[in-house]
């Protein structure tokens, strides 16, 4: 029997999603037996040319992690789309743009000026900046071109399935793998994680009062949070209500609140916008001054609400506008 061809590839990535695949440990060896991994830059030999030579659709599944912000990454994403039957967006960066998507709040210029001019350790008397082409000692050297904007994968290519998380936890990876191998996939466009919110499976939910009512917003380092009580009930911002379940509560278990790496729940496009009414409803403040006071304690709205998802949020700049 011919083994299905699988590619695992990273674009603008930190490497954590590939580590997440290795984290399935012994199961990986069994998986490597059941499929023919034809591309996995982290661990295996590969050639882009050999991928280019494949027929369209020859790869059964391409698992792609990372966001897109330069031409090289875009090229690889498109190449894989052409040659694959299915594309799985793996991890928060591929699904949502990821943490580096926060760079969309600034400009390349700001980044360059700090990195190459204003940082206190910079020694740059000649005012050098990296160039796409430069000449050194008579030789020509090149660097790739960057986009002004960080994009999630589905802004660049058509994506079949999504597996969110930063990174997706091991059992989540195994579940996705078996769904593909046993051909038990949900409809195209689905996210391979539960449809409900994190609160549903959170252990703290049991002790959550019917009506949460807070007069202060507290930051996690200012208090000794109770590990058994709902964070929101303690006045600590936790994005659980607006976040998809499935992460195994890695953060909750070490007593720090959720920051929404699993993205929005089913049917919601912008998890940040969804969180606002939920948060409004727990604020116990009536007068304008009181409301102003407590709302000002919400110190970093865009950072809290969109840490992983700015590129797919309502604030994103679509490709067509660039």
């Amino acid at each position: 029997m011919v083994k299905p061809k699988v590619a695992i590839c990273w674009l603008g990535s930190c490497g954590g999603c590939d580590e997440a695949v290795v984290d399935i440990n012994e199961v990986l060896l069994r998986l490597a037996d059941a499929v023919d991994i034809i591309l996995w830059p982290v661990a295996m030999d590969f050639k882009y040319d050999s991928v280019r030579r494949m027929k369209n659709g020859e790869i059964a599944l391409s698992v792609v992690n990372g966001h897109v912000r330069n031409s090289e990454q875009e090229e690889i994403a498109k190449l894989l789309r052409e040659k694959s039957q299915l594309i799985l967006a793996f991890g928060a960066c591929a699904c949502l743009g990821g943490t580096p998507g926060l760079a969309n709040l600034s400009t390349k210029e700001n980044i360059f000026n700090w990195v190459y001019r204003d940082a206190p350790t910079v020694v740059n008397p000649n005012g050098n900046y990296p160039q796409t082409t430069s000449r050194v000692n008579g030789k020509e050297l090149t660097l790739p071109e960057f986009y002004d904007h960080v994009h999630a994968l589905n802004d660049i290519i058509d994506v079949d399935y999504y597996l969110p998380g930063c990174p997706p936890p091991p059992y989540s990876v195994m579940y996705a793998a078996s769904a593909v191998l046993e051909n038990k996939l949900p409809p195209k466009g689905s996210t391979l994680a539960p449809n409900r919110a994190l609160c549903d499976s959170c252990k703290r939910n049991k002790s959550k009062p019917d009506r949460i009512s807070i007069k202060e917003i507290k930051r996690i380092h200012e208090v000794e949070a109770d590990p058994d009580v709902c964070f929101l009930a303690q006045g600590i911002i936790c994005l659980g209500p607006a976040t998809r379940d499935g992460c195994g509560e890695a953060c909750m278990n070490i007593n720090i609140p959720c920051r929404a790496c699993f993205g929005p729940v089913e049917g919601v496009e912008d998890s940040g916008a969804k969180f606002i009414p939920a948060m409004a409803s727990i604020l116990d403040a009536e007068s304008d001054e009181d409301i102003t006071r407590i709302v000002n304690q919400f110190v970093d709205p865009v950072g809290y609400l969109y840490r992983f998802s700015l590129p797919v949020s309502i604030f994103r700049k679509k490709r067509a506008e660039e």
Binding site: A103, P167, R219
Partner: protein
């Protein structure tokens, strides 16, 4: 006619890089450049973020070594809030940190370097990989590597959440304590790691000391680079990953500087070149002297070999014995032999494992006193740790609301960037003679580069197979004459 060789690890992303080698008219290497092609802008998009969120965001810099970023960030917060972590919190943090060092160093040794050492650099390329190693030393080794990694990462998950992206850590403490139940399996993991590190070192020594040919490669001039060395040391000048003072020793082994890392700006300068995105660090007081080694250099190296050079001894007894053996074989301190990085890496893993054992048996580990709540916000906080690859500095400045107003990061691989260029050039010069470029030379150049274990090399080594390389040989006008592709 002079030619250009492009070694493009084909967008090994995550810090992709490429190597360009230029030949002169005689076909000898004239120049070589290692270029980093990536930049993401963490120092800018972290501005405006509440500082307590930074230990959660910074690990996204690297998913292979996220723990150092998390830890440097937490320590910067300690500094920013003028607070010392409780003794128990410090033990827990060091447990987390050592667990990471062990698994990261072991992984790199077995996936990256073991093949070169166990099988020898002139072995058949198809065999020169982890599978070849496993075939030679036994299948259960592969299983043990996976086991060590898995167990250490369980510790990381327990203390700081997801190992590829830990989000734990608070100024003055940790968010979760350790119970007596936990201690049991933590202790078992520590014991397992000590044993496995011991085995790995024995394996390495057998292979190197028994193999004259290989020892000669290690001591070969093409892999030697005379630079300064930097690492953190404690009050007794012993190697420390978690804290200490920065010590820099000269190529001759004399102490050049011993300073509080808060003063890092006085010692470290970042030079900018138009052909690479990474900034080239150098000793600021000497000034940028270009890509040169020896007497007039201002370049310094970091990472395992550098740390062993910069310290007077290791922290733990068994690792210390190995330290002494290594320098005996290499002919004294400091050692400039780049390939010795692999050996030093194992000795460091050994120290981290021994230290884990110590912590696992410490009565204070399970105390409930895990948070020092006496926080007093200052304007500046600087945290420094020894990441697996070298010294890492996180420097934050905050406003009265505790939101970041300035962020400066000096990342481990930066310190080695200029030395890597030099090492690559030297290896190329040493092994490429004349216009006939053999496949074998690629591995020799690769070895120089791999020793530093920069994030990109980790990605490029293959399992099975080798680092895929495309070498384009071009004439003066840029036309392609020949391509060597491996495999």
């Amino acid at each position: 006619m002079s030619e250009r060789i492009t070694i493009n690890p084909i967008t090994r992303l995550e810090g992709h890089g490429k190597i360009e080698i230029f030949l002169d008219d005689k076909g000898n290497v004239e120049d070589a450049y290692w270029q980093v092609v990536e930049l993401r802008g963490f120092e800018i998009f972290c501005l405006g973020r509440p500082v307590e969120e930074l230990p959660r965001i910074m690990p996204n810099i690297c998913g292979v070594c996220p723990t150092p970023h998390n830890m440097a960030s937490v320590k910067a917060l300690d500094d920013l809030y003028g607070v010392e972590p409780t003794p128990t919190a410090k033990l827990i943090r060091q447990l987390h940190y050592n667990a990471f060092i062990v698994e990261d160093h072991l992984l790199h040794f077995y996936i990256l370097s073991a093949a070169d050492f166990v099988l020898g650099p002139s072995a058949d390329p198809a065999e020169r990989n982890i599978l070849g190693v496993v075939r030679k030393v036994g299948l259960e080794i592969g299983g043990k590597v996976i086991e060590a990694r898995k167990r250490c990462r369980e510790i990381i998950r327990h203390i700081a959440s997801k190992p590829p992206h830990p989000e734990g850590g608070l100024p003055g403490g940790v968010s979760r304590g350790i119970t007596e139940e936990d201690r049991k399996w933590i202790r078992e993991t520590a014991d397992f790691c000590v044993e496995f590190c011991q085995f790995s070192l024995e394996l390495f020594k057998q292979v190197v000391l028994d193999n004259k040919e290989y020892l000669n490669v290690v001591l070969n001039d093409a892999y030697k680079l005379n630079t300064y060395y930097m690492g953190l040391v404690d009050d007794n000048k012993r190697l420390n990953f978690y804290e200490g003072k920065c010590r820099i020793v000269s190529p001759k082994g004399e102490e050049y500087a011993l300073f509080d890392y808060h003063d890092y700006v006085d010692y470290i300068g970042e030079w900018v070149e138009p052909w690479t995105y990474i900034k080239l660090t150098h000793l600021r007081k000497i000034g940028w002297r270009g890509l040169n080694e020896g007497e007039s250099t201002s370049l310094y190296r970091v990472g395992p070999l550098a740390r062993l050079n910069a310290a007077d001894s290791m922290l733990t007894p068994l690792a210390q014995r190995e330290y002494e053996t290594m320098f005996d074989v290499l002919g004294g301190k400091p050692s400039h032999h780049t390939l010795a990085y692999h050996w030093a890496r194992l000795i460091e893993a050994f120290q981290a494992a021994e230290h884990m054992q110590r912590i696992a048996n410490d009565p204070l580990l399970t105390s409930k006193d895990i948070r020092n709540m006496e926080l007093r916000l200052e304007k500046v906080g600087i945290g420094c740790v020894e990441a697996a690859r070298g010294t890492l500095i996180h420097h934050y400045e905050a406003d009265a609301d505790g939101k970041a107003t300035k962020v400066n990061l000096i990342v481990a691989t930066q310190h080695n960037a200029a030395p890597i260029c030099l090492s690559v050039k030297k290896a190329a010069v040493g092994f490429v003679k004349g216009p006939d470029v053999k496949e074998g030379f690629l591995n020799m150049v690769e070895m120089a580069f791999r020793a530093y274990d920069p994030c990109l090399a980790c990605a490029t080594h293959a399992l099975p197979g080798q680092m895929p390389l495309v070498v384009n040989i071009r004439d003066r006008s840029g036309d392609l004459i020949r391509t060597i592709q491996r495999p």
